[in-house]
Amino acid sequence: MLQRRNSLLLNIVIWVLLIFMLLWVLFPFYWALLNSIKHPSDTFRPGTWVPWLTFKPTLDTWISNLSQREIRRALLNSTLISTGAATVSVIIGTLAAYALARFRFQRVSNGSITTWFLSQRILPPVVVVLPFFLIMSSIGATDKIWSLILLNATFVLPFPVIILSQMFRELPPEMEEAAFVDGANRWQAFTRVALPLVVPGLVSVWIICMAFSWNEFLFALTLTSKNAIPMPVIIAGAQHTRGVQFHEVGVRVLMTMLPPTILALLAQRYIVRGLTLGAVKG
């Protein structure tokens, strides 16, 4: 099937389809970029589709947004929350993954433990975030970056646990056995032998966790009010009393979307595997 020669007609259909798909996927990004470099009055005018030709581009909105303290604060918060959550979940997730790959648990089988971690993935976030909000507000811990790190790390934890335990299982155990013969203990075998071999996968999983935590909106909306507000919540600030400001939306949408999408491209070899929790290897 792969080798079947394509007829000319089929080739044309495929190329038309490909071009349509690319336009369809890329158009929203292009539209955000256009709005971000338009003068406010141009955003509501029809036919302003090509910079320089149909409107005069300006960087004013970018400059004014980047000079706002609350936006820079939000960028910093988003960075701290997403990298913090990804790091915490990858650390504890990798440890659990190694345990599931290398030890046999008796009372509860390894498969059941894996499924238990997997079931985390089906839990609707709204079910947990409201009681979590009550608990946090009763101890006066809302609007804190660390509470968002805690929640995000929990919801991305299935990724490192399941994907990395698969990767550890694909390593031949003989190398760790050799380390034991040389007098290493379990911890040394883990950190010096097994861990370095899964680094590419580890980095990719970290990126996936980081991107999901960066994009998370519900927890941030519920748990932040001022100091810990990250980017996804700050976009809403573009909706002033005067209505939605399209040029502001353009800038903030791009500032929010670009970091996770660009990072995800670095992990693209592992995306299919990551998003299906290891069930399909891309």
């Binding site: 440890l95 409201l130 608990i135 573009a238 399209f246 929010t256 491209l265 069930a279």
Partner: protein
């Protein structure tokens, strides 16, 4: 290389002959276990407890037993939320599955620039959903937004995207389709490329045509992957919150007020935390039922293979 589909652990645990460090396995496993217990099970128990109380001004007021659960049956706004969510889930998942799988079938061949295509298809998956919602406001803009300008230039009339209940639902569905069709496409394509080539060659020698190849080989072998994609899409679609919250704010009226959004408002706007907790458990039960139905389906298909 045959297909690599398997939900839990495909290869058996290859245990290293354990020496003195046997107990260290708990040190590896327990941090994650305690983490999940503390941050999901404990809030769930807390929710279970608070669902038995009425709340006033956000403070626990009186023990009401199962009253909050009884309200689930009579609350029309809640039923509206369920209905809107069902419409959303069924339309998005159906369109994404058909479109994504068809595209994968068509493009499962030698084409130049496959890596570029994959890279571009990854972009929507990691685009911030709430940002897409706000971007949607500018794209679905009724007077001079790009879609309506295009429709008008083709001789049609403007679509009242965000002010008409029907079209507002279409709008949130379209954003989700834009974001997640690439997921179905990428996973299907990965699955298709894992299919054994020799099977097709043997069938072609026997004179099987394209349709027969698809019907007898591709589809049966792809079924586990397709069920798996369906499961992931269903679970995620039921959680939908960000896009209607940003694009339509649940409106016009309650036309796009999906379940998660309704529950969020019950808790965070009306501070009716007991009732919101009861609503959460209803959602949890619905999603769990769907998962257990499909999970069995996937598992049985594995055993047949």
């Amino acid at each position: 290389m045959s297909q690599s589909v398997g939900l839990s652990e495909a290869p058996a645990v290859r245990e290293i002959p354990v020496r003195a460090q046997d107990r260290s396995r708990w040190a590896f496993l327990l941090p994650a276990v305690f983490w999940v217990l503390a941050l999901t099970i404990f809030p769930l128990l807390y929710a279970l407890y608070s669902s038995l109380f009425s709340y006033r001004f956000g403070r626990r007021n009186a023990f009401v037993g199962l009253d909050n659960y009884a309200r689930l049956f009579t609350d029309e706004n809640l039923h509206n939320g369920l209905w809107v969510t069902f419409i959303f889930v069924i339309s998005t998942v159906a369109v994404e599955m058909v479109l994504g799988f068809s595209l994968a079938l068509l493009l499962n061949r030698e084409i130049r620039g496959r890596n570029v295509l994959r890279a571009i298809m990854i972009l929507p998956l990691f685009a911030t959903p709430v940002a897409l919602g706000y971007l949607g406001i500018t794209i679905f803009y009724e007077t001079n937004g790009p879609i309506n300008v295009l429709i008008r230039s083709l001789g049609g009339s403007s679509i009242p995207w965000l002010s008409n209940p029907f079209w507002a639902r279409v709008a949130i569905i379209l954003v989700d389709i834009w974001q997640w069709t690439p997921f179905v496409f990428l996973v299907s394509l990965a699955g298709l490329q894992g299919l054994p080539v020799d099977l097709y060659e043997a069938a072609a020698v026997d004179g099987a045509g394209g349709w027969q190849l698809f019907r007898r080989i591709t589809l049966p072998l792809m079924m586990p992957t397709l069920w798996l994609i369906l499961l992931f899409r269903l679970v995620d679609a039921f959680k939908v919150f960000d896009i209607p919250m940003s694009l339509t704010l649940g409106g016009p009226g309650r036309a796009t007020e999906v379940y998660s959004m309704f529950q969020y408002r019950t808790g965070m706007r009306f501070f009716d935390h007991g009732y919101a907790a009861a609503q959460g458990f209803l959602l949890l039960i619905i999603v769990s039922v769907i998962v257990s139905l499909l999970f069995g389906r996937i598992r049985s298909l594995y055993e047949e293979a």
